[in-house]
Subunit: 498 residues, 2 copies
């Protein structure tokens, strides 16, 4: 994270030529980090006497060599990042991470073609958690650890992106976040470096705490560590085919729910808490909104399931609360297959899949902040219809939301819907059935993990999809993870014009 | 239409007490008209010697008596319509029309309960075209004529509502229409009366032309008349269970496509044409946009169907073009069951179901104007991301769209989506399967007619749904027809305050 100074709030808006050196240096650093982190699975598999040790060692060296070469070639970069470079830099970072992280997965699984491996890598680094791997329980521990490490890195990357860079890109109302992270400071670069460092500490501290809790409750150290990494990053990869349902422990599930929620609230609030401003967490409108939504979804679905299944009210509450929290934080663990719960539950789950938790966290989807603002803008709109001459204001965190900002956020929602429609259409063209296509597009663009139906539901596996569908879903995960526009802008002709 | 003066552009924005007399007088007039129109099916069934003649005579007298009483009781109304009254007036008008039009349907079909009859009445008067009646080919001609007359009245009502009243309610960007209908006139009431009279002439002229074309091509006078009424009103009721597929004539299908499109473009353009400004029709952005969308959908789906079915390219083009035009104009005739066309076609059809044709026409759905403006606002947004300091403008019909207007339209889309999600959830709660619920909500709120799947697809029938689902769909049709907000505003507490 030594390059955090790059993500300085002082982004230049000038139209200069592309500064490819900054991009090369940053991507090189990321690949070097990926290479170094592959030593951990290599050591673990070496300790276990598994042949995958060599694969991780080899891929780690490749990554490190490639990354190192990029860093050295571009070491004289100028600290000068324009808006356009920021877009390109972010998109390329995630593509390179997915490509290189897929390499050991590809080599270690001879039956897996590259489309599936790339899908797995993209799913890991975007903290989605959809998997094409079957037989996790018998897999080399190094490979399982690698998937968890990727989600940890991906989660951290997205927090840094969301809190430091995104507010400056004016994407989907994320600049409303800017006022909070306060760039009124005189030393933006120094301040940003401090901020990112503190975020890393908080992130690792939460993971450590989560791991200890899991261990105390009976998981092995290995399971505890892996699940801690994929819980706090709201990634959702598990070391077992049965996902979190494998453990069958209420205490572990409650712990998991708490830490998924911890991963789903804005990380900047933890930094405030470190400065003694604990009360900010519960006063935050996103946190309040998220908890309110959860209260509604969980109570409605629990009562529904209790009345319409053989579950007791306690069992209903247990299954519903875990899976709803897992879906809304876009983690994607499952403790049961919810497809037999019937059409109403399926529709609720599909709806929840799109939502996501708070902006500025590791979760994907539309995000609570946008839902709150859209709700208030619509309410203002409704009032204005009744009183055309009245003056009404939509507030968010004690600050008026302008029409332009409202439009910005609605525009994001429009693009999110458009992306989902387009992706669903393309998926059905590859021969995928309608429910798999709709829920597949949803779970990919919102970075959740499981879809609906027998094919890609909690009891299914993405390996059954064709390669074209997997490439499309990989693209969907990338677009969803980077708030669509970061990638879409690069695809526009205008982006490349002088 | 003697009350057209009420819909004067000089709507008062003052917060006065509700003027229930205007509402009573208008609804009374509408019911009286409904009563008079029931004489036609009564006479037809009397001529055919069918017992339904008495039913229509009885219901007609009830309607006329009830309406007449309301007119007489409120004959001293003051010509003073506030915004709030306009909302209430419109919503109540459609509810009363559905209620009274369902009466003869209820009495004439002993097996039909009132939920189904009300659904049929609402489907008719909102020009949706979903039906709960089976065995149309053996039904009394009076009853078939009654359904067609209702769609004719409903279509005319919605044009008057969209062109005269809606621009003043500021709903979903419909005030962008205002500049065209030009209320710069010195005599708004006189001008509006003239406008509505001309719209009636155009509407009836198109229907007459359509009827003659059908007759020349081989339909019976009865079939030609009924289908002309339900084609131009984009209603979609047929006199046969096999819908338009009954005739199996390419020439009739092409004629039908032309007149469905005539019903789907802004009727104000015909008025311009009467003043010699023919070129306005093809210069209109909505018309151009609608034709462009049709070109894309029809060509893509035709090629897809040709490659993925046993149809020849000619058969593919024939089926696709008719059904796509029928869906996008929200008519809802079908010439074949498109469910076996596979997931891609189903997803396309579901998507097209939401769209609708032009604002200011008889069609429902989101409407071309809104799609164009949202597209341009999003494009402007994208440009601004790349050039944060650039100044870009979204234009519509040569006029800049302000942020507030953009937000207004996006707000409508947000509500449309929210309504669909809510309706789908409620439908699944009644036990309806997911595809039926999603497509049922879509086809109701967009006033199309058929849904997807075996239950409510072109080969199915809404009679198989439970009564709760039918009430919900009736509400969906009402909300969709009146642009959601007209009804939603009345349900808000604030509406009823001082």
């Amino acid at each position: 994270m030594s390059n955090s100074g790059l993500y300085s709030p002082g982004l230049s808006h000038r139209l200069t030529r592309m500064n490819y050196q900054v991009i090369g240096f940053t991507i090189g650093s990321i690949l070097a980090i990926l290479g170094i982190f592959q030593l951990f699975p290599a050591l673990l598999d070496y300790y276990d006497g598994h042949r995958n040790a060599q694969i991780f060692y080899f891929c780690g060296v490749v990554s490190l060599f490639f990354g190192g070469a990029l860093v050295i070639a571009n070491k004289n970069f100028k600290m000068d990042v324009t808006i356009r470079q920021a877009f390109l830099l972010t998109t390329l970072s995630w593509i390179f991470m997915a490509t290189f992280s897929a390499l050991p997965i590809y080599i270690a699984n001879p039956k897996l073609d590259y489309a599936k491996s790339f899908f797995e890598g993209m799913s890991a680094i975007t903290t989605t958690g959809s998997t094409v791997l079957v037989g996790l329980d018998d897999m080399s521990r190094g490979l399982l650890l690698w998937r968890s490490i990727l989600q940890m890195i991906g989660g951290l990357g997205i927090i840094a992106f969301a809190i430091v860079l995104l507010p400056h890109l004016k994407i989907g109302g994320m600049h409303l976040f800017k006022t909070e992270t306060s760039d009124r400071s005189d030393k933006p670069v120094a301040r940003t470096t401090t901020l990112v460092r503190m975020l890393v500490y908080v992130y690792l501290f939460l993971m450590g705490l989560c791991m200890l809790a899991y261990k105390v409750l009976g998981m092995s150290w290995f399971d505890a560590m892996n699940h801690a990494m994929t819980t706090v990053s709201t990634g959702g990869f598990s070391t077992h085919d049965a996902s979190f349902g494998h453990f069958g422990s209420v205490a572990m599930e409650v712990t998991c729910m708490i830490f998924m929620l911890c991963g789903g609230i804005p990380f900047i609030l933890y930094v405030y808490a470190l400065y003694g401003r604990w009360q900010n967490i519960l006063a935050d409108e996103q946190v309040k909104g998220l908890l309110a939504m959860l209260a509604v979804f969980i109570s409605v679905l629990t009562v529904w399931l209790w009345l319409n299944s053989e579950y007791s009210i306690y069992q209903s509450l247990r299954y519903v609360s875990f899976n709803v929290i897992s879906l809304i934080t876009t983690t994607g663990y499952a403790t049961t297959d919810y497809n037999p719960w019937g059409p109403f539950a399926s529709m609720c789950i599909l709806f929840i899949t799109y939502l996501g938790a708070c902006a500025g966290s590791t979760s994907g989807g539309i995000k609570t902040m946008r839902l709150i603002i859209v709700g208030r803008v619509l309410r203002k709109h409704l009032k204005n219809l009744i009183y055309p001459n009245g003056v009404f204001i939509a507030n968010y965190q004690g600050r008026a939301v302008s029409d332009e900002e409202g439009l910005n956020i609605m525009g994001f929602l429009g693009l999110f819907v458009a992306l989902n429609v387009l992706l669903t259409l393309l998926l059905t063209m590859t021969g995928v059935d309608l429910m798999t296509a709709i829920s597949g597009a949803a779970t990919a663009t919102a970075n959740v993990g499981p879809g609906l139906g027998a094919v890609i539901g909690p009891a299914g596996n993405f390996a059954t999809l064709n390669d074209t569908a997997l490439w499309l879903l990989s693209l969907g995960m990338l677009l969803g993870r980077l708030e669509i526009l970061t990638v879409a802008v690069i695809l526009s002709m205008r982006f490349w014009k002088g």
